[in-house]
């Protein structure tokens, strides 16, 4: 009875076809949204980018220091680090403050490039390479720029990536 009635009305036929199309599109859209939101590799990629961003920022903070704003700079060092590195910084802070105040240097850093080399999402550990240009301005003389090949270890503490180790990439006589 209904189908007969429907068939008799072309408007109903068109409306039904459109509704079915829309239902199909909605089903497909919903599925692809769900799939995209639950994509494991996407989550990993996001973690990698978060770690790199935090790592680059932390490395930059650690190479930026203005003797006129010493407390602010060193607070930022401590905020960027965790673990052993953090402990070293807090332990050595009084002595370091004295040195910088005497030297009256201003250091600024620019990240040239950075990459994550290792990432363990589960344990919250990552390794990063950060190519940095550091410019040090002393009271006398021109600002001196040097490039720095840094290797850092990151540890995730309460959802935030912080540096747990930082050092220069070793230069050796590895070439033979």
């Amino acid at each position: 009875m209904l189908s007969l009635r429907t068939a008799r009305n072309p408007l109903t036929v068109v409306a039904l076809a459109l509704a079915l199309l829309a239902a199909g599109a909605a089903g497909w859209g919903g599925w692809s949204w769900y799939a995209a939101a639950h994509d494991e590799s996407a989550g990993y990629a996001q973690t990698r980018d978060d770690a790199l961003q935090a790592g680059e920022q932390a490395v930059q903070n650690m190479n930026t220091l203005d003797y006129k704003r010493l407390a602010h700079g060193l607070d930022s060092w401590e905020a960027s680090t965790t673990g052993d590195l953090h402990k070293q910084l807090t332990d050595g802070r009084p002595q370091f403050e004295k040195q910088i105040q005497q030297a009256q240097t201003v250091s600024t850093a620019k990240v040239l490039s950075g990459a994550v080399t290792e990432l363990d999402e589960r344990t919250g550990k990552a390794s990063v390479m950060v190519a940095l240009r550091i410019t040090v301005t002393a009271p006398k003389g021109k600002p001196a720029a040097k490039e720095s090949r840094l290797l850092g270890e990151l540890t995730r503490t309460s959802g935030v990536w912080k540096l747990s180790a930082l050092g220069q990439a070793p230069v050796g006589n590895t070439a033979s």
Partner: protein, 238 residues
């Protein structure tokens, strides 16, 4: 007497009149459900059943809203708009998630591809920036097969000084990549950050002088024919 006769006659007239009304109602061709009208007419207004009452109400409601033929298309139209809206929203959300820069970059998340890029780029850099005055063919072959685009000229410029003095000083330049990190892999494009040690030995000098240097640079690579070629060398110069 006349009263009784008059009454009987009146009843007869009424009895005769009722079927006439029913008959007149019944054959109306445009009436949808004519059968229903018969008992109603016969029983008179006193005996309106529940069924007829309900039916009358439904029909009244239908008459108040849209014409019967337009109701279904309108409902379907609304459904189309709602479903279509959801489809559009979900599609946008999905493509936002997928096309975010994080997801299109498979560095590290695609382990096999990352290892492949690291390995090939490390080998390419080691051979491209190593030069032996006694065997210049190796360096030439490396330059021919591992470079593409503007990296060809960049590499030529970088090695120009070494090439110029190689024969006279009997130079042996060796480059060893010590650290490499894949910044990006997006389809057939990738970018790798490299730290390398370089040793340059002047074998013509009596004391076999060797100088060491630390290098850092990044390369943009493209994948052509199954192998990665260096397309740009970024030495971070200002």
């Amino acid at each position: 007497m006349s009263t009784t006769r008059h009454l009987i006659n009146r009843q007869r007239r009424l009895a005769a009149a009722t079927p006439v009304t029913a008959v007149r109602v019944k054959p109306r061709p445009d009436e949808e459900e004519p059968e229903r009208d018969v008992p109603q007419a016969v029983a008179g207004p006193v005996l309106v059943t529940e069924e007829t009452a309900a039916d009358g109400e439904t029909r009244a409601a239908a008459r108040r809203s849209l014409p019967r033929g337009a109701r279904l298309p309108v409902v379907l139209g609304l459904l189309t708009v709602l479903l279509g809206g959801f489809a559009a929203y979900a599609g946008t959300q999905a493509s936002d998630l997928r096309e975010s820069s994080a997801t299109s970059n498979v560095a590290l998340s695609d382990v096999a591809r990352t290892t492949e890029v690291k390995g090939q780029v490390t080998n390419a850099v080691n051979s491209l920036f190593s030069y032996n005055y006694a065997n210049t063919g190796t360096a030439d072959r490396a330059a021919r097969t591992l470079l593409t685009g503007k990296a060809v000229q960049q590499h030529k410029d970088m090695l120009a000084a070494v090439r110029a003095q190689a024969a006279k000083q009997k130079l042996v330049l060796t480059t060893t990549v010590t650290e490499s990190g894949v910044e990006l892999i997006d389809g057939n494009r990738a970018r790798v950050l490299l730290y390398a040690d370089q040793s340059n030995t002047n074998t013509a000098a009596k004391d076999d002088r060797t100088t060491y240097a630390a290098a850092m640079f990044a390369v943009d690579v493209v994948r052509t024919g199954g192998s990665w070629r260096i397309a740009n060398i970024d030495t971070f110069t200002r």
